[in-house]
Symmetry: C2
Subunit: 522 residues, 2 copies
């Protein structure tokens, strides 16, 4: 490859009649090109060829003008493959490579890939014993191991508490319903392909829910509502099921069963702006507490070329878009637009997080919905005594527990802030005779509400410290005679090393403060 | 009826050849008796008749010897019904009655029924807005309204906290799995009828889980375990689905989707006794905190006449029974035995709670299981370096959230202890001008972690107090000029009435203490 690049040879594109090309490839016994020409073109077509020196390929392009433009390249991996994926066919060698216009760009890219590997939540999930995937349960259905479950529980408690503070009322609803409910809501018509297959019971056809909105709507309409009751903010850690194709499933980030930090706000049209603004404040607060700093706003609109994918009501779409734009403008939030990313029932504001490779995905979302309230004929009694139709705001702050935890694992490379660490403190008695003191320390730390693990194995001190360090435990406390005598602990802080001896009381007070403050730093 | 009783007429039983009886009933045009004689007997049978004065009935008995024995009776209700339940048939009148040997027994019974009606969790669930059932979601799938959801969340937080203290590790696992998993566990063979129908995906057949054990087993076997790691106590608020027939579904107490306070303890055989004893301590602690005092222990064994319903391994059953009896005896717990109530995989100890009508049902359960560990070939490395098979203890402390909350609603008749009350304190400003002070009080109570509702409607003070009283809110605080001036509140305590004025600080401190102590009394 270096030789070819040094020769700076041109790539020349030529168009040739299909039959001529086929004849040449056949005479050269190039059965693979023959296959593709026959597959992708029809008699009478012209075919596109690129030549580079003596090498001629059937290709649509584009190519760089000449090989000299390739300043930096790297062969990334090799793999065997059967021609057309059929094991009866000859075996091929696949060569994966990448190329950049400069060595610096290539190096940065390679570094990002290394970093991504190091942070990969599937790898860290295994190494830190956060979750596992079992062939016996099924694809896309991770099992949360105790340490991962602790992180999830803390995240759940955190967001539930914040929502209670902000006037949300929590509910629990079952993760399934009659198919008819989704026919009425429009999910069956617009979202059917992403749903699990229905189950036939005696008299009813049930289906696992793909979204929580219809259940919350039924709670809204379970009693008469007056304008004085609005806004009604119903929230739930709602478990839902989506039939993702097996090829796209991955760790915790793409799964088939997920629990969404969901809420639906039922309000009058003139409350939309304030509610929207409160949701945005909640997002910002949660991101700050979780240490998430890189995000951007995307206004997701329907694809005008693909209208059949969406609810058919132009007026409603125009209104929804206007309301969202006004709310965004009044908050002075910078946003970009994306056509084709709306929900089937309305436009939405997505908050996009970039992963370590720079790929953006939606984590939080706010949607203004005029469709479902009309579909379910929702009402409230206005100050005028007449029935009015509420608007629904769908919103998710910290996404699904699965995706947010996968994001946090990668963002922190498994080194979680103290408040989210499954084990906050590892205890290492220097020898057998310090075990008693270590147990006393353990008890005191636990009484203070801290999560502690005592390594009482018959191992060398350094081995124990190393194991806790590999597990990315924030603090490792080493205890020998000196510490036992002074009611102290010798503190090793993650990323900072040995910090010397500290009175136990002081260590406890400092740790509790860091937990309360949700501090990222140790 | 009173006349018939006064006549003290005998009930005389006679056996008569079937054909003779049929002829008599036919000639009397008594087509209903003809129908039942033909349905329940065959040619050549003798049929049983009871006569009382001129009245003759086809009946298997038994009857009281004479009408004079009926000392106290009451017609409970009437209802129309079609003959054989077919609306094309003539209409009948059904008369429901009850009779006792004394007026006192009857009165007690009627009182219990009145009490049961007053406490009925379906009625209180509606009146106190705890949960609702929606035809559109499906039968047996209640939706928890905000107030019911608060009780459930408090119960969940309570039991999770207690379990953490007791060395349980919590996990989250999905509520479904491949059918094959349940074939392996034996659920498919022994429990299939109670499961939801499977769903066919691309390549796998999935089914909603009826129990959580197989998922926890997979977590146990996701890593190598040594004798030093035992006992492994995996706990989860595990959501499961059971296909209860629609006829038995009722409110929160019999549902199709339920969340069990479940755990599985994997231990060595010599740890069974201590683990069993710890579980019993946990049950007693939880019952005490929840105020449950009426319960009894039942040792549930398999039905020897019905062995095909259970795993076929006599040795294992004998061992399981012995272990349970030993544990029970060592704790000196009184228990009775019940044949036919075992799990399909082993015997169990059930803790039975009686409802207001005296009917007993199982709420907590502890099961010693040798079957599933062998079915899944579970292992741990012993001190001898060799693989050993652990034993599994299945246990549920506070039952499913659905059933325990339904029990608590009925036990407390909706008047929950302070720590479980969805709204702990109702605030009533005497007039518009006291609203500001009421809001200040509200803020201070909320800051102290108390759940408060402020009634700011333009209604009379007494109407507001009445509404809070109907909702069984533990404390209603009334605030006028005097209170605002003194930074005090006038306290109305549920069941005790007006308690006079108290400084706000004092009220807060006292309330927090009652919450912390989980006091039943106010």
């Amino acid at each position: 490859m270096a030789e070819v690049v040094a020769r700076d040879e041109k790539f020349v594109r030529e168009w040739e009649p299909r039959e001529k090309g086929l004849e040449e490839f056949k005479s050269g016994n190039d059965f693979m090109k023959v296959h593709f020409v026959e597959k992708f073109t029809k008699p009478g077509d012209e075919i596109s060829l690129y030549s580079n020196g003596k090498f001629v390929d059937f290709c649509r392009g584009p190519h760089v003008p000449s090989t000299g433009r390739v300043k930096a390249f790297k062969v990334m991996s090799l793999s065997g493959a059967y021609w057309l994926g059929d094991e009866k066919n000859p075996q091929l060698q696949r060569i994966y490579g990448t190329a950049f216009f400069s060595k610096k760009d290539l190096d940065e890219y390679l570094e990002r890939i290394e970093d991504a590997k190091r942070r990969d939540h599937r790898r860290l999930g295994r190494e830190l014993e956060l979750f596992t995937v079992s062939e016996e349960v099924g694809a896309g259905l991770p099992l949360w191991l105790p340490k991962g479950a602790t992180i999830r529980r803390l995240l759940e408690e955190y967001i539930l508490g914040l929502e209670r503070e902000m006037g949300y009322e929590h509910v629990y609803t079952p993760s399934l319903a009659k198919v008819d409910l989704y026919v009425r809501s429009g999910h069956w018509a617009h979202y059917h392909e992403d749903m699990f297959p229905p189950m036939d019971l005696e008299t009813e056809q049930m289906v696992l829910r793909p979204m929580n909105c219809p259940h919350h709507i039924l709670i809204y309409e379970s009693k008469l509502r007056s304008y004085r009751d609005l806004p009604v903010r119903l929230a739930e850690l709602g478990t839902m099921y989506r039939y993702e194709r097996s090829g796209v499933l991955s760790g915790l980030s793409r799964v088939r069963c997920m629990t969404l930090n969901d809420a639906h706000i039922f309000c009058s049209p003139d409350q939309i702006k304030e509610e929207f603004s409160n949701v945005m404040k909640l997002v910002e607060r949660a991101y700050r507490d979780l240490g998430i700093t890189k995000y951007s706003y995307r206004l997701s609109l329907r694809d005008p070329a693909n209208k059949e994918k969406y609810v058919d009501n132009d007026e409603m779409w125009t209104l929804g878009e206007r309301v969202l734009r006004e709310a965004l403008d009044s908050l002075d939030l910078p946003y970009r637009e994306s056509k084709g990313d709306a929900a089937f029932y309305g436009p939405k504001l997505d908050i996009q997080l970039a992963n370590v490779m720079g790929h953006e995905e939606t984590y939080s979302t706010v949607q203004v919905d005029f469709h479902l309230p009309s579909q379910f004929e929702l009402k409230y009694t206005g100050a005028d005594g007449n029935p009015h139709r509420p608007v629904m705001i769908h919103r998710a702050i910290v996404s699904t527990m699965e995706r947010m935890v996968s994001y946090l694992i990668e963002m922190y490379a498994g080194a979680f802030p103290l408040w989210l660490s499954p084990v906050q403190i590892g205890l290492v008695p220097i020898s057998e005779r310090h075990l008693e003191y270590a147990k006393k320390v353990q008890q005191q730390l636990q009484n203070a509400g801290l999560r502690v693990e005592l390594d009482s194995r018959n191992e060398k001190m350094n081995a124990k410290i190393r194991d806790f360090t590999m597990q990315k435990v924030p603090y490792v406390l080493v205890m020998g005679d000196k510490e036992a005598e002074a009611n102290a602990v010798s503190v090793r802080t993650r990323g900072k090393g040995d910090q010397g001896s500290t009175p136990l009381d002081e260590f406890i007070a400092r740790s509790k403060k860091l937990v309360d403050e949700k501090s990222i730093e140790l």
